[in-house]
Assembly symmetry: C2
Homo-oligomer: 232 residues x 2
């Protein structure tokens, strides 16, 4: 990781709808954002898009591996079927102390079936697949799966959505802090990483509900009776 | 099924916390309720409890198989490990046209492990296990898993909780109507029965959150951006 990058947030696959949405939100909150893509020119174009939407945004675009080397927190926002190849390309880049955030869902679209269904993952979840592929002492946290890209990109409105954050305690708390940067998002302490399987399944269910209820901009959820909860 | 019973609601395992909560809510909404238990005396005691809490309640208590014969809708509110044995005891009782509602979750408590973890079910979910064990032309609908027993039993307050209802269209809609009887509950159209696996997993996650956030009375959830939604 390059010097001074610890506070930066890299978003690999940041040219996709959901990744770009996170980039917009974090840039707007004043954080340094590095957009990664398989193709550098697409990353540069996405960075331009963020700069156009957010005055004074601190954002750059790079190829995925270079982006991952520039940030303390690396968010993986790639289609499920690109998860393992992307991580394998980062093997010599990720270093101890970095946090990789898994927001993938093993949607059956990976094999040409529907988006409201999931594939079984040997490790138990996409997040645990990620954990199996990062170097030692790199932490993996699961988060952000169920927040719709439209809600993230619509900077005029709060996202009105809770997200479940799971993983080891210290990195989990750092990612819960990131949630607080996004108006209307509450990061819920989801316990150990293995719980990601529940969140990934829940996300596939929400995708089906969005189709059934004709809400292309996406529904979210709020926990009720959450102690001490404002709505961020 | 006995004559005139079509509008009655049987709750097998209705002496347990969640089943009793449903019995209280449906009785309070003016519906005829039949509480079933493995032991008739426990069913009778639970029926007394409902009558004491709800003036004019139309409720009786019977052994499970007798209860199932007295209602158009039969809600299974038994621990996961009792699901198959209970259904096998109903083999000669259930008749075409009846609806069996699965509210079970394959919690790992069934094998002495924790309540925030689940077991894999061969059929895909508890609800699909139920579907594999009912006679032909008996419909199975999945619902009510994630509403906490305390919220159901606390008649002074709305439950403030959505539930996901899945199964074939016509019986699913009948169960969504039941949800409308409970103040603060919204029945969400969860599509086909196979989606129950997502809801069951989500419920295990909520159980873990209740422990982690110290909410013994139970959290629930509300979908945000649900079209045309009041809060029931």
């Amino acid at each position: 990781m390059t010097t001074g990058a610890a506070d930066s947030i890299a978003i690999l696959g940041g040219t996709g709808d959901q990744g770009l949405g996170l980039a917009l939100r974090f840039a707007r909150a004043g954080r340094a954002v590095v957009i990664g893509s398989r193709k550098e020119d697409r990353a540069l174009a996405a960075a331009d898009e963020v700069r156009n939407a957010v005055a004074g945004a601190n954002v750059i675009g790079l190829e995925n591996a270079e982006a991952a080397a520039r940030a303390g927190i690396v968010i993986l926002s790639v289609p499920f079927e690109h998860t393992a190849p992307t991580l394998k390309s980062l093997k010599d880049v990720l270093v101890p102390g970095q946090i990789v955030v898994s927001m993938g869902v093993p949607l059956a679209t990976a094999i040409g079936d529907g988006a409201a269904r999931t594939l079984g993952v040997w490790q138990g979840s996409c997040a645990e697949l990620v954990a199996s592929l990062v170097p030692d002492a790199v932490s993996v946290v699961s988060a952000f799966q169920n927040v719709a890209s439209h809600r993230l990109q619509d900077l005029a409105h709060d996202v009105e959505c809770d997200v479940i954050v799971s993983g080891a305690k210290a990195p989990r708390e750092r990612v819960m802090e990131l949630c607080r940067l996004i108006p209307g998002m509450r990061g819920i302490d989801g316990g150990p990483l293995a719980n990601a399987r529940f969140v990934e399944g829940w996300t596939a269910l929400l995708i089906g509900l969005n189709v059934r209820y004709k809400v292309p901009s996406g529904m979210g959820f709020r926990l009720t009776h959450l102690p001490g909860a404002g709505t961020a």
